[in-house]
Structure formats: structure tokens, C-alpha cells
Amino acid sequence: MLKLVIKRLFQMVLVLLIVSLIVFILSSMIGDPVSLMVPENASPEEVQAAREYLGLDKPIHVQYLIFMRDVVKGNFGRSYRYYQPAMKVILERIPATLEIVFLSVLITGVLSVLFGVYAGAYPKRSSSKTIMTFSIIGISLPSFWLGMMMIFIFSIYFGWLPPSGRGQLGTFLGIKSSLFTLNGLKHLILPAITLSLANIATLIRLIRAGMQETLKQDYIKYARSKGVSQRDVLYKHALPNTLIPVITIFGLQVGELIAFTTITETVFAWPGIGKLLIDSIYSVDKPIIVSYLMIVSAMFVMINFLVDITYIIIDPRVKIK
């Protein structure tokens, strides 16, 4: 087990190095941050002075080496846009994104399992067919459009929920989050559902297919003949055996949720890191772009590691070499 952890850590460092190199080079090609920071009528001397102040007059490999040297010291550079340390800016915004992701993961997990198991156990019922139709709709419709429709219906038409923004923060066990206030939850519901819809749709189909496969197996017949209740047959015996592919996909979805909530955050004016990313790309804020993508890569590696561990827990036959 220890060998596994060390091997994975080494892999993570390697991935981070490669990602940092690629991102650094690519973000130097998407535009010139200096032009966006100096006034339009700045003289060539002023532009040059600004370039030197940001350290952008040096050749690209020198810039990269300086950046990596600072990273080792824990300094991820200073945002061109906010004049604050890049890591600080990112960490400030992460809690907001984690809130909607957490709620979305909860909703996705519960709903996809309930509907997927049901549709897999009773595929011929019309209610199952309805579930599958909704699942196709969920996959096909773009999430931002669904988000806007929900704002229109629940906020403007019915007036039940606020249209955008983050609610009030509350404290629970020392953690400050808008999950802990009623006002906060009201603001969280619509963006969390928007994030979940496509994922629920995908997972329902996956679980249903898996359940249909599994329920044909002999040991299920044996369990039924033994007198095991339907509920236990479905959830205790069949479901765990369908979960391996589901968890893989789910892990990837969680990673994507955390890293790329950009569109949902823009539609709902949610102050998270997805919006930070798109704003930074538009203004070519290299320190933030590079730091952000490095964090995200580390996170994906970590999630995949956790997924592998979960395999071992669920399926005793799996041994990781």
C-alpha cells in the first residue's frame, strides 16, 4: 500500500511538471497581458516599463525557470490583474465553488442511484421509460440554457428563489459556508441542480445498464429463492456489483465539476473559481491561469487515486499492482 502511495505521489509531481510547462507556454501565446493593463494611449516607453515591471521582457524559458523557482518556495506568482498572490486569490474563491459542487454531488448521487436502480429493476414499466426520456433530455440540453430557464421559472415567474448570487454565510463546526443558512441554501439550489442535470442523466443510464446485466446473474436468482427482500436484492447485492464503472465516471465528473463550473458560475453570478478562470483567460492573467491549472491537475490525480482506493474497498477481488 505504501509503495502504491509513493508511486502515485511521484506520478503526480511528474504530471504537474508537464502541465505547468504546457500551460506556461500556451498562455504566452493567447495574448499580451501588458496591452490590456496600460491605457490605450500609452506611449511605447510606458508599455515597455510596464512589461519590465511584470518581468515579461525576459525570454520565455527564463520566465519559466523563475516561476518554477518561486513555486518551490511556495510562491505561485502575483496576479497581473488583482496584484495579489495568485494562490491567495484562488484559495479565496474555492469555498464558493466547493459549496455548489458538494450539493451537486449529493443530489447527483442520491437521485441517480434511486432512479437508475428503479429503471434497471423494472425496465418495462412506463415510469421507467419516462425516467429514460428525461435522461436523454438532461444530456442533450445545454446546462446554461437549463439554468436560465430555471431562473425564469422559479425566480421571475414564481418568485420562490433568488435569481443569482451567493447567500449569507453561516458557521458550523468552525467552517464558514452558505450551506449552513436557509438564505444560503436558497441561493445554492438552482446552480447546484444546473450542475447536476447532465451528470444525473449519464449516471442513470450507466446504473440502469449495469443493473439489468447484474440482475440476470444466477446469484440474484439464488438470493431471491433464499427469501431476501427485493430492496436488499437491489441495493445490497446487485448495486455494489454495478458500481465500478459508475465510480470511475463519477470521479471524473467530480473533477470536472470542481474545475470547470465556469458557465454555471457566470449565469448565476456565483463567486467561484470557474468564473475566475474565464476572467483570467480573457485578461491573460498568466500567474492565475498557470496556478489554477496546476491545482486542477493535482486534484484530478488525487481523485483518480481515491477512485482506485475505492475499487479495493468495493471489490475484494481487485488487487492493485
Binding site: 493567447i30 495574448g31 499580451d32 497581458p33 496591452s35 490590456l36 496600460v38 491605457p39 490605450e40 494611449n41 500609452a42 506611449s43 511605447p44 510606458e46 508599455v47 515597455q48 516599463a49 510596464a50 519590465e52 515591471y53 502575483r78 490583474r81 488583482y82 496584484y83 495579489q84 498572490p85 486569490v89 479565496e92 474563491r93 464558493a96 436560465m148 431562473i151 425564469f152 425566480s155 421571475i156 418568485g159 433568488p162 435569481p163 443569482s164 448570487g165 451567493r166 449569507q168 453561516g170 458557521t171 458550523f172 449552513f180 443558512t181 436557509l182 457566470t266 449565469v267 448565476f268 453570478a269 463567486p271 468564473k275 475566475l276 480573457y282 485578461s283 491573460v284
Partner: protein
């Protein structure tokens, strides 16, 4: 399994109990006037020097003030300086500072703070070094008097000094701009109460303000970048006022009995520039001009006149901008000093355009790569910076093609575009024809003229600090002379007359083709009165709650 669900239930109950203890929103007292505004972006920094852009400036103006303030006609009124004198040779200005002003943290405002701020304006991260462009030096005469000496007269100094906020020397000396951004401390009408990036900016009224206090005691600015979401917010009552209403939502909001639409022509003018004063246009470009004789067609006055007659500006305003733009014959807004009302928009006349092009020596070719056209140019334009910019650029290309000018349309995202057209572009000189916008809130026509029309050579400025937005390398020594003279003329009427001549000459030279001024559109709840600034700065003191 049972144990797990029991623990889960317990946690849930504890959680719900803790929610009951979260602080409730305080009941509003009769004295408080609170308003929530949906703006289109967040402030970039609370350090007023590191950015010169609309939203950041407007937000910082709540906390910070300058020696001179701006009224709703963009004219200068006393601010932290209650009066000033100008020497007869116009080379020395003496400012008398207000004596009863305190910063938000209680520190007294004195001349030391002014000197500190002037020094800071020249730092590399500051965007305001131009403010002191013609200043030779400045010194403190006593605690409430500052003298500023100039290398040459700067009659528009007031319109420049009013954008330079005054910072407290004691709080900020020796601190970097990161610190200043996190600890705002100014003399302004509001104090920063809360700031969550991209979520909200909360200001409360400065009860010790030196001047007339605004009505609104608490204002919450919510940055909402998505247009549709902003509209949703005003429709659902989540905010009281929104800025920059998208044109497609205006009718819908107008029909709503709880809302008012406020609309006025803004300061941003959209226009075309072309390299008409050089034999070697855009030498480094990948898409050069293709003309039958290999010369630069923009050099010909008739060609430029033809282009002007080829464009149907009324159709653009009506069809693309839905009526939310005002066509213009000049760069200069109507209420600026030096506006020339006698310049008219040339009529839309494509037949005349074709005739002029023939006369200029550019007939339609009947063979070769220009078959069916007279010559080819590349139009560079942004596609995500100005309202419907991509569509307008496409329309322009269409109109020009109808009279025989082939247009290669090169649309770019803003962060690429503004590097592309800059004179210090690392790729070199790559543009010979572009569409862009410019807004100036000085209130002075001469400031616009010196930025946009003063001679600028392909190799660099003819005069340092002049013509930095003159993208066509327009050169006219008469225009330069008039601008120089206007800058040394203190008398407003005489200055206006000189500037009027500048616009007239530029119009006759067809130095540029102005298209239209964008409109500013706001929506507010019926109980809110809003008097917008013409420069799109949203100020809480322009908002009044009518009960």
C-alpha cells in the same frame, strides 16, 4: 446501518439547530436608505492608481476623492481643493486645500497627502503618470497650500487632476499596491463595509463627510457579468437598479409597471481609422492592401470620401443597434468644449461613392485577382468588446463591397485586438484599416483632438504624449498648430473656437470616419430616481429613493 442513520439524524439536527442561531438581517430603521445595484463587472482593485477603467474608477470614487470633482456635465468643481489661482504666464497653479477634511480612519487631510499622491502617480504600476505630463515640479507651500509648476501651459489640467485620487500618506507610505488594495482609506462619501470578490461590494455612508451627504446610507453593488442574469435580477426584485441593459430586453422591461428605463447617449464613439498618410501601410501584415497599381488607396481624398458615402449609418443604427445609438459626424460629444455643430454627416450615396472611386483612379478590374473589385483591404475589428461590434464590422464590409472595395474581415477577441492595433505591437505594424471605440470623459474637445488627431508618424510620436490614439498616422500641421494654441488658451470661448476649426479641417480631410455614439441604458424600480453620469460611472449619490 441503524447506528449510521441515527448518527446522521443527530448531525442533521445539530446542523439545523445551529442554523437558527445565525444572525438575522437587522430590521431597517426609518433613517436608512438602502439600495442594491447590479453592475456589469467587479472592481479590479481598491488601489485607485493601478487601473484606469470605468468600473474600478467609479467604485474607488466612492471611497477616494481628488482635488477637483466632476459634475454631471463633466465640468470641474472644487473638491479637496476649495479654490485655486493660475499665474499670468499660466505656468504656476496654486491650490488652496480644504481645511476640515478627515480620512476615514480619522487622519487629517493636508498638503503632505497631496505631495505623496502626486509622487505615487509616477510609479510604474500607476496608470496616471500622464496627469502630470506637463508638470515640471510641485511643492508644499504650507499645510494647506500646494503649488504646481509647468514646463508649458496646460489649460486642461483640471480635467486631468480630477482623476487622481488623494491617498493618506501616513497609511500608505512605504506600502505596496497589494496593501493599498486591501485597506481602502479615503476622504470620500462612502466607507467600504464589506467586499467579497465577484459577489458584493457594500458601502456605508461616511457620516463625517466634509460636504453634502448623499441620501443613500447603504449601497450594495453586485457584479453580474451575464446580461440575462442581470435582467433576471431586476425582474425578480433582487436588485433596485441595473446598468447596461441589453437592447433585446428593453421592450420587456419597459412593459413592466414596476420598472423604468433610463436611456441617454454615452461617451463612447465607434469609428473607423485607416492608414491614409503613408506610402507604406502596415509593412508587417500578413494581409496587405492589394491595389492594381500597388499604391495605397487610402491616400486619396476621393477614396476616403467615397467610403464615407458608401456606408449607411442610419441603417446600422436602426437594424443592428435597434435605435440605441446616435450617428455622429465627429469624434466630439455635443456638450464638450469645442463641439462643432456645423459639421454634418455626409449622405448615404453609393452611386456617388462609385463615381468618386472611378475619378480617383480605381476602376473596377475585369481580370486578375481583383476581378470585379477596385482594390482589397483588411478590416481589423474586435468581436467581443463593444455592443454588436462584430455585426457592425460585417455591415461595414458589406457596404464597401457593394461599391467595389473588397474587404477581408479580420475579427479578433479583445485581448488580441488591442495588442494588434497598438503602435508598440511586438508583431510590428500590422493594421491599415480598423474599427474601434474611444471614450473620453474630460469634457474638453481639445483632449480628444490631441489624442486622436495630433500628428503621429509611423516611426513614433511627432510630439511625445500626443496622438497616441491616432491610428491612421494622420498628419496635418495646421491641426497640430490649432491644438497647441488651444492648449495654451485659458479662455473657454476662444479655446472652443480653435477646437471647432480642428474638427472642421479633420472633417474636410476625412481624417477618420465616425460611426455613432453608443447609448447607455439603465433600468430602475419605480421608487428609484437615477441621474446617470454621461461617462457610465455609477455613483450612489446619483441615486435617490422616492418613498
Amino acid at each position: 446501518m441503524r447506528k449510521l442513520s441515527f448518527i446522521g439524524l443527530l448531525l442533521l439536527m445539530i446542523g439545523m439547530a445551529s442554523m437558527c442561531f445565525t444572525p438575522q438581517v437587522a430590521a431597517k430603521s426609518d433613517e436608512s436608505f438602502e439600495v442594491t445595484v447590479g453592475i456589469e463587472g467587479d472592481v479590479l482593485s481598491f488601489d485607485p492608481y493601478v487601473y484606469d477603467e470605468t468600473i474600478s474608477n467609479a467604485i474607488c470614487d466612492h471611497v477616494y476623492e481628488a482635488l477637483v470633482l466632476t459634475d454631471r456635465n463633466l465640468q470641474s468643481v472644487p473638491g479637496l481643493a476649495e479654490s485655486w489661482e493660475i499665474s499670468d504666464d499660466l505656468l504656476t497653479w496654486t491650490f488652496h486645500l480644504r481645511k476640515d477634511v478627515k480620512f476615514h480612519n480619522g487622519n487629517q487631510f493636508t498638503a503632505d497627502d497631496v505631495i505623496f499622491s502626486f509622487d505615487r502617480a509616477k510609479e510604474p504600476y500607476s496608470k496616471y503618470s500622464q496627469v502630470l505630463g506637463l508638470v515640471k515640479d510641485y511643492k508644499k507651500l504650507d499645510d494647506y497650500t500646494v503649488a504646481v509648476n509647468f514646463t508649458s501651459p496646460d489649460v486642461t489640467f483640471l480635467s486631468r487632476i480630477r482623476i487622481l485620487s488623494i491617498l493618506d500618506k501616513e497609511s500608505f507610505e512605504g506600502k505596496d499596491e497589494g496593501y493599498v488594495a486591501l485597506h481602502p482609506n479615503g476622504t470620500g462619501k462612502y466607507k467600504l463595509a464589506e467586499y467579497v470578490r465577484e459577489d458584493r461590494i457594500v458601502f456605508t455612508r461616511n457620516e463625517d463627510y466634509w460636504g453634502e451627504k448623499p441620501q443613500v446610507t447603504k449601497v450594495i453593488y453586485k457584479p453580474i457579468t451575464n446580461d440575462a442574469t442581470r435582467t433576471a435580477n431586476i425582474l425578480s426584485g433582487n436588485v433596485d437598479l441595473i446598468v447596461n441593459v441589453p437592447v433585446r430586453d428593453v421592450d420587456r422591461l419597459r412593459k413592466n409597471p414596476d420598472l423604468n428605463i433610463i436611456q441617454q447617449p454615452g461617451l463612447r464613439v465607434i469609428y473607423l481609422n485607416y492608414a491614409g498618410w503613408t506610402d507604406n501601410p502596415s509593412p508587417d501584415t500578413k494581409y496587405p492592401i492589394i491595389s492594381p497599381k500597388g499604391d495605397n488607396p487610402f491616400k486619396s481624398l476621393k477614396v476616403r470620401q467615397a467610403m464615407r458615402h458608401a456606408i449607411n449609418i442610419d441603417e446600422i443604427v436602426e437594424r443592428i443597434m435597434n435605435g440605441f445609438a446616435t450617428p455622429t459626424a465627429t469624434y466630439c460629444p455635443e456638450f464638450f468644449v469645442g463641439y462643432n455643430p456645423d459639421i454634418k454627416i455626409p449622405e448615404y450615396n453609393p452611386e456617388l461613392a462609385k463615381k468618386l472611386l472611378d475619378e480617383a483612379g480605381y476602376p473596377v478590374q475585369d481580370s486578375g485577382q481583383l476581378k470585379g473589385y477596385r482594390f482589397q483591404v483588411t478590416l481589423d475589428a474586435p468581436n467581443d468588446r463593444y455592443v454588436n461590434d462584430a455585426q457592425v464590422a460585417q455591415a461595414i464590409a458589406g457596404y464597401l463591397e457593394k461599391v467595389g472595395i473588397k474587404v477581408y474581415l479580420n475579427l479578433m477577441s479583445r485581448n488580441v485586438f488591442f495588442t494588434y492595433i497598438r503602435t508598440s505591437n511586438p508583431m510590428g505594424d500590422v493594421t491599415h484599416f480598423l474599427m474601434t471605440g474611444w471614450a473620453d470623459s474630460s469634457g474638453e474637445g481639445v483632449t480628444k483632438a490631441l489624442d486622436l488627431l495630433y500628428s503621429y508618424d509611423q516611426t513614433g510620436p511627432v510630439k511625445e504624449g500626443f496622438g497616441d490614439v491616432n491610428r491612421g498616422y494622420y498628419k496635418n500641421p495646421e491641426v497640430d498648430r490649432l491644438i497647441d494654441e488651444a492648449l495654451a488658451t485659458m479662455d473657454v470661448d476662444k479655446r472652443a473656437e480653435l477646437v471647432r476649426k480642428v474638427w472642421e479641417i479633420a472633417h474636410n480631410d476625412v481624417a477618420y470616419i465616425p460611426l455613432y455614439f453608443e447609448h447607455d441604458i439603465f433600468a430602475a424600480r419605480k421608487n428609484i430616481m437615477y441621474h446617470p453620469m454621461p461617462n457610465k460611472y455609477v455613483y450612489a449619490w446619483d441615486i435617490e429613493i422616492v418613498k
